[in-house]
Symmetry: C2
Subunit: 428 residues, 2 copies
């Protein structure tokens, strides 16, 4: 791809009032950076014609591509399309196909279409229409000239739930076709890891990080790391092949045991899917995570078929009375111990009559902990009909309570996945 520069202009008074956080700018920027497009400016203006015009002029005088978000709605203060067309000297027309799609959209969601939505069918002549299956405002791509320079403007609607998939499904391929003539498309795969920190993972796969095609970009979460692999290719088949070759290379670095999914975005969704496939059930006994694992599992619609429930045994007496851990286990080893985690996992599995029981006990801080088990120490137990085992993790004491709890819940689900997936997940 020839070196092109893009900038992002988000339009919306609610952004200037601080009512909403601008996630669109970072989303688009991250995706562009993965395909090698440089972003040197982001800007936000309100629904004001003069200031919008000024911002568009600034952007077009500096960059090859301008991507806007917002201002494509049906009301009188939605003026992005009109302002861009005027600046590029392009007429607008009423696009019957777009009008029809808007009518269909309202039919589908079972509401009457407000007359104002007709405005959304007005389209700059020669614009490429970017489909928006999740809303009424289609996106638009216009080529034009500004001050004698060739420029491209891509306009997207403001809601992130519409803009994000449109960016992935349409904007990146359009840019690829436009500026990358011999290589037509971009193809991405996301690898999700848990049980390993971002820097440790990066260190292992460092030799792959400098790859130019496909690119390899890490994103750190709390207790999870995502690696996005993006290939520039002539066809989807070629893109998939390039990505899969990179995945194979990555797995040759022995990181497979930390990989919990490819392209399934959360560990809880991966776990619920795998349990469903295997027709297995899971129960939870949580101390320091306090219900976070059961909360995350039940975030997934349909979790009820694999997760009947769990016990949050925050106090020792609940571990003993409700869960059935031996009092003397806690007396001898404390509640934050391998022995206690083992009994918690075994007991909850029996109590809830499930195939697997998982337990977590540890010190999430800021208080608690001792010399042997400082804040950040977490024991995770997994019990199946075959065996029960416990792993001990030490999260850095620099991490806060939120991180430690979140990471412990991810690591616990990762251990269950790894156990039922026989060590490495077979997920492609």
């Amino acid at each position: 791809m020839r070196k092109i520069s893009a900038e992002i202009l988000c339009v919306g008074t609610e952004l200037l009032l601080g009512d909403i956080i601008n996630t669109n700018a970072s989303y688009i920027s991250a995706r562009l950076s993965e395909i090698g497009v440089s972003v040197y400016h982001q800007a936000v203006v309100g629904d004001n014609e003069d200031r919008l015009k000024g911002a568009i002029k600034d952007a077009l005088s500096r960059s090859d591509v301008l991507i806007t978000s917002g201002g494509l709605g049906p009301t009188y203060d939605d003026i992005t399309k009109e302002t861009v067309s005027a600046l590029l000297g392009i007429e607008m027309y009423y696009d019957k196909n777009i009008a029809e799609r808007i009518h269909e959209y309202f039919k589908r969601i079972g509401r009457a279409m407000p007359p104002s939505n007709e405005k959304q069918a007005m389209t700059p002549v020669g614009a490429h229409i970017i489909p928006n299956p999740r809303g009424t405002a289609p996106g638009l791509m216009i080529d034009g000239k500004y001050q004698g320079k060739e420029v491209t403007v891509i306009m997207l609607p403001g809601p992130p739930c519409e803009l994000e998939p449109m960016t992935d499904e349409s904007v990146l391929p359009l840019l690829a076709r436009k500026f990358n003539a011999e290589k037509g498309i971009f193809f991405s795969r996301n690898l999700h890891f848990t049980g390993i920190g971002e820097s440790s993972l990066e260190e292992i796969i460092r030799p792959l990080m400098d790859s130019l095609n496909p690119t390899v970009a890490p994103y750190a979460g709390e207790g999870e790391v995502r690696i996005r692999i993006t290939a520039s290719a002539k066809s989807e088949d070629e893109g998939r092949r390039l990505c899969d070759e990179m995945i194979d290379k990555m797995l040759s670095y022995k990181v497979g045991k930390y990989l919990y999914s490819i392209d399934i975005p959360t560990i809880e969704e991966t776990l619920v899917r795998l349990l469903s496939e295997r027709r297995m059930t899971l129960s939870t006994a949580e101390s320091c995570t306090g219900g976070l694992i059961s909360k995350r599992l039940t975030d997934v619609p349909g979790a009820s078929s694999v997760f009947p429930g769990g016990i949050c045994s925050y106090a020792e007496k609940v571990k003993i009375n409700a869960l059935g851990v031996e009092g003397k286990t806690i007396e001898e080893h404390t509640a934050v111990s391998e022995e206690c985690a083992k009994e918690m996992a075994e007991r909850v599995r029996a109590l809830m009559d499930t195939d697997i029981g998982v337990s977590v006990t540890g010190y999430a801080g800021p208080g608690g902990g001792d010399e042997a088990n400082p804040v950040g120490t977490v024991y995770i137990g997994v019990s199946t009909s075959e065996r029960t085992f416990v792993k001990r993790y030490s999260f850095s004491s620099l991490r806060d309570r939120v991180f430690i709890r979140r990471a412990a819940s991810s690591y616990a689900m990762g251990l269950v996945l790894s156990e039922i997936g026989n060590g490495e997940f077979d997920i492609r």
Copy 2:
């Protein structure tokens, strides 16, 4: 305050790469809007001198005040201070006091100071130093002239955990003193509501929403609404008095039963505090919220003294076997019923031997529900030594699973607060 306009410029390549989301722009914008300062532009540039210079020039030519974030660090590519000073024609000097504070900071956190941090003591002549107790880079306010126009530049460090308190503690008061000579300070109080939707609450208190001093600004969360009251005043005492008068007015609209705290930021923290004060304990029996209440309670450090634990009874058999709900209750009324919620609350209270038991059962969607109890229906039970009662809520079917679960957990904690606070909370 005379009508002034400000703009926000965030400096950092990581923003342009989409590695981090720009929360600073929305945070500063929201706070400025509350004190009546208009923000018409936000911008982001990287650590590049030419583009930074261009962005600062654009801002100063348009606005009275420019607030920057980022680029105050110790490395060679941190150039905000240098670039602003150069543009305003102001010299820099080595400020021994700042250097000393940076040395002290490193002493306090027990690390050796890297020599590069000396750079952070370089200061534009005549700048007002804005203290930063949470980091090494102090903020700076400089008055100057740009193109014959009087301008003010405020520079803040990038990390939100430093920038946000600096905005509240220093930037707003500085702007107040500067542009609002007769009224020196701003004073804010935050009212937190649950059990009522944002639009219903706004409708009730509508007459107060147009107040200019103090201003009244609502922020909607999931199942919670925050109202920030901000007074412009000559002294903190006067500011507090103005806020308290507004709070009294608001309570005269009979919204007190939905108010769960003033200035305590979360409902779980409020509940843990109130339970601690009353030396009472609480247990949870959760179906559709799946552990979210116990997760939120245990987000609060020290929750263990009031929350021994809970049961996530997602499946009917767990409601019956682990919790002790009568099989025939579920048979006759289904698990999503007043009767089931009542037994769940009573049983968990007995099982966990706590003063209060709270239960949630409902349809969070997308599947489930029937004519009588469609998706969005949630029953919340509260059991104490005095009585057990159940409330039924209907969240809009337009809301998603995440919203319904989150809102149900907030409403449940709100009901407990209301019950032990005798209907209205005594929280001032």
